[in-house]
């Protein structure tokens, strides 16, 4: 049944997460300004919070489904701060790839590590079929020899291992690309620097270099079987993981946008600007009118993201919806945060407040995990019943 309300249990979970997120926000500015310092794994307040705050009940069949709650959780934690957590938990994009493409033995072996995912290279971003990092099998030692460079690797510093895309045969295009797991500390695997960014500066985005880096043959995700597949198991596997990660990145950006809206609402109230949802253009201030429009964009985006997650929970295909929510949220968070700055003026760009930071942080939403343009390509192909070759 179509319903947009939270159950009591849902609400308790939301309240719990919001209380935790609010503590994290206190550290937001510091780790933005001091990006060379790693954000703490555990905040000083964590122990007291966990001791004093009773855990909310777990949701049951009568409550909102786990994928939708995951998205709500992502929204709320990012509403606190993009990076800072009371206690950071493992799990990166690489973990999703391992679950999707790894053999049961591989999942067992590496499932507990924090895994980053390295696809992008200096010369290839949105078109990963152009990956040029190479993997060559040395039959004498039964090892893969990896050479190449990866950039923009999320959680690249904290990660204990990485899932990388490398090509066995560049001339084979996307069919030649496979996923490999490389553990930190493997000789020939270097992490030269943390990237310097517009926003999400506390996040440890890294660059990786592989020079004659040797890994066991069994580190090929999906095992030897995946080599012979004409269509790339590695490629498909990762594209599949994007069905949940796209809504999650949308949710993360929306958390920042919600923080921006909350701050702007508070400031407007303090300035005595009334927001009246019934008022027309004559009796409403331009600031309030503009604010309502931003709220509407936020709500449209939030619901569309939750819808993509709800479908996943129902076990229904959500490829289009994932791209729809990602494309929508990418534009929405840009419009919302920049709109809030316009409403608040100089206060919006002052580093004494967090609005300017949220604006910088959320700008990545429309870029990573497939730019807005890539999402529109996917959606247009779906609408027009076109293949990748039909519409480029």
């Amino acid at each position: 049944m179509i319903d947009f309300t939270l159950t009591e249990t849902d609400q308790a979970i939301v309240d719990y997460n919001r209380a935790a997120a609010l503590i994290c926000r206190k550290y937001a500015r510091y780790y933005d300004e001091n990006e060379e310092e790693m954000a703490p794994e555990v905040l000083p307040e964590a122990e007291a919070f966990y001791a004093e705050t009773p855990l909310p009940p777990k949701g049951g069949a009568e409550d909102t489904s786990p994928p939708v709650m995951m998205a709500l959780h992502a929204m709320i934690s990012h509403w606190g701060d993009y990076t800072i957590r009371l206690k950071r938990s493992g799990g990166g994009l690489g973990n999703a790839a391992l679950s999707a493409a790894g053999t049961p033995e591989q999942q067992k072996k590496w499932g507990n590590l924090v895994l980053s995912m390295a696809i992008t290279e200096p010369g290839c971003g949105s078109d990963p079929s152009r990956v040029s990092t190479s993997a060559v099998l040395d039959p004498e030692t039964d090892e893969w020899v990896i050479n190449g460079e990866k950039i923009f690797v999320t959680t690249g510093i904290r990660a204990e291992a990485v899932v990388i895309w490398a090509t066995l045969d560049k001339s084979a295009g996307r069919a030649g690309i496979k996923s490999f797991l490389v553990e930190k500390g493997t000789p020939g695997f270097d992490v030269p620097h943390k990237e310097k960014k517009l926003g999400i500066r506390a996040d440890d985005t890294a660059a990786y270099v592989f020079s004659d880096c040797r890994i066991p043959r069994s580190n090929l995700l999906g095992g030897d079987e995946s080599i012979s597949k004409k269509t790339s198991g590695g490629f498909r596997g990762v594209m599949k993981t994007f069905n949940m990660t796209r809504p999650m990145t949308a949710a993360m950006g929306l958390g920042l946008a919600e923080a921006a809206l909350d701050f702007t609402r508070e400031q407007l109230a303090e300035a005595g600007v009334e927001i009246d949802y019934m008022a027309g253009l004559i009796s409403q201030s331009a600031a309030a009118e503009k604010f309502i429009r931003l709220e509407a964009i936020y709500d449209a985006s939030r619901l569309t993201t939750l819808q993509a997650c709800w479908l996943a929970g129902e076990g229904k295909p959500n490829n289009m919806e994932s791209s729809v929510c990602k494309a929508h949220a990418g534009g929405a968070v840009r419009a919302i945060t920049q709109g809030c700055i316009e409403i608040l003026g100089a206060m919006g760009i002052s580093r004494e407040h967090l609005l300017e930071k949220w604006t910088r942080d959320c700008r990545i939403t429309d870029i990573y995990e497939g730019t807005g343009e890539i999402q529109r390509l996917i959606i247009a192909r779906g609408l027009l019943d076109y293949t990748r070759a039909d519409l480029k």
Binding site: S283, I292, R293, D299, A300, L383, D390
Partner: protein
């Protein structure tokens, strides 16, 4: 519990109405627009579907089905996918009937609901909009002064949907305490009904203006009786209804543009293979999904009796903006053909432009 899943019944309703809209409404839309008239047979055939009657309780002669605003929003989206003007006409009686059902006193329900349970199409209209620039739903210029036990209502109304055939009007007017809605019979003394207005879009849908010159209304004919009612709820309901119509219209534009762009060749390939066109279609789809979620959220909140003033306002703000963008860009995708009355896109653009200025003139 957050869920986007239609009930089985809602799916059946959607499929039935989708078929009806394709068979009966889409083919009729153009002629209704060109002739500024809707054939009685069409209204009657829709009446027989029970759009208004089904959810009126059995004690008043209705079908006694559970009242669901979400289901009604789905109905309206599907009807408007066929044609927006016809959709508003077909559910026209519901705006009045549902206002009585949701907010009327027992006496008002007894008196007015049976009117909508007969065998023939019966119309009564909301009179909310007023002549003059920029509507303010909670600040009507029409005034209601107390007189004895009852009221005296004076002012002017415009865009009263199908007021040419309405037996009654629900007139929004301001009194000393705020805004109320008053039931005024067609033959009330002091009430003048204008000839149908000349509008840009929704031309098949006759709209009229009302002049109220010291029209006397009995105390019992204030909506809600003694207690009055929160007319903001009627505005919210109407915002969701109009949003549903704009949503159906937007989907119609998109679904018309997709095959057109695949057929139309320029520079040796279908224009759909150009990103400037393909991305525009993608944008239309993204916004249709986003609009529907906003409409459903507001409908569902209203159905549960929650305060949905903000959510209904989001529908009005967002859906109006995006539906207009879609209708406008539908013309652009078709190029010159978008401007020609042989294709429906120019008509849908006029419909959208007209719908987006309406307020309080529909109900689900």
């Amino acid at each position: 519990m957050i869920s986007f899943g239609m009930s089985e019944e809602q799916e059946i309703v959607r499929d039935t109405l989708r078929e009806f809209a394709a068979d009966a409404l889409r083919p009729a839309g153009r002629e209704c627009d060109e002739t500024s008239a809707i054939p009685d047979e069409l209204l009657q055939s829709a009446w027989e579907l029970g759009l208004t009657t089904t959810q009126i309780p059995e004690e008043y002669g209705g079908g006694g089905e559970e009242r669901s605003l979400v289901t009604n929003s789905i109905v309206l989206e599907e009807l408007a996918y066929g044609d927006a003007a016809l959709a508003l006409a077909l559910v026209g009686p519901s705006q009045f009937a549902n206002a009585i059902l949701d907010h009327g006193s027992d006496e008002q329900k007894q008196k007015y609901l049976p009117l909508f349970c007969g065998e023939n199409f019966h119309m009564a209209s909301l009179a909310q909009l007023e002549p003059g620039p920029v509507g303010e739903p909670m600040r009507p210029r029409t005034m209601a002064e107390p007189k004895g036990e009852g009221w005296v209502v004076s002012g002017a109304k415009s865009f009263v949907v199908m007021g040419d055939r309405a037996s009654h009007f629900l007139v929004f007017a301001r009194n000393q305490d705020g805004v109320d809605a008053f039931i005024v019979a067609r033959d009330a003394e002091g009430l003048t009904i204008s000839e149908p207005e000349l509008n840009m879009g929704l031309k098949g849908l006759a709209t009229v203006g009302l002049e109220l010159e010291r029209v006397e209304v009995a105390a019992a004919d204030r909506l809600g009786g003694e207690a009055g009612c929160n007319v903001a709820c009627l505005i919210n309901n109407s915002r969701v209804a109009l949003g549903s119509v704009l949503l159906g219209l937007s989907r119609a534009v998109l679904d018309y543009c997709v095959p057109y762009s695949k057929d139309r060749v320029a520079f040796d390939e279908p224009i759909s293979k150009k990103q400037s066109i393909a991305f525009r279609l993608a944008e239309m789809h993204i916004e249709c999904e986003a609009m529907r979620n906003l409409v459903w959220q507001a409908a569902s909140h209203l159905e549960k009796g929650l305060d949905a003033t903000a959510q209904a306002r989001f529908v009005r703000t967002y859906v109006n903006e995006k539906a207009l963008w879609i209708a406008d860009n539908g013309i652009q995708v078709l190029g010159g053909h978008g401007f020609i009355r042989e294709h429906p896109v120019e008509m849908w653009f006029r419909h959208a432009r007209t719908l987006s200025v309406l307020e309080g003139t529909a109900g689900i």
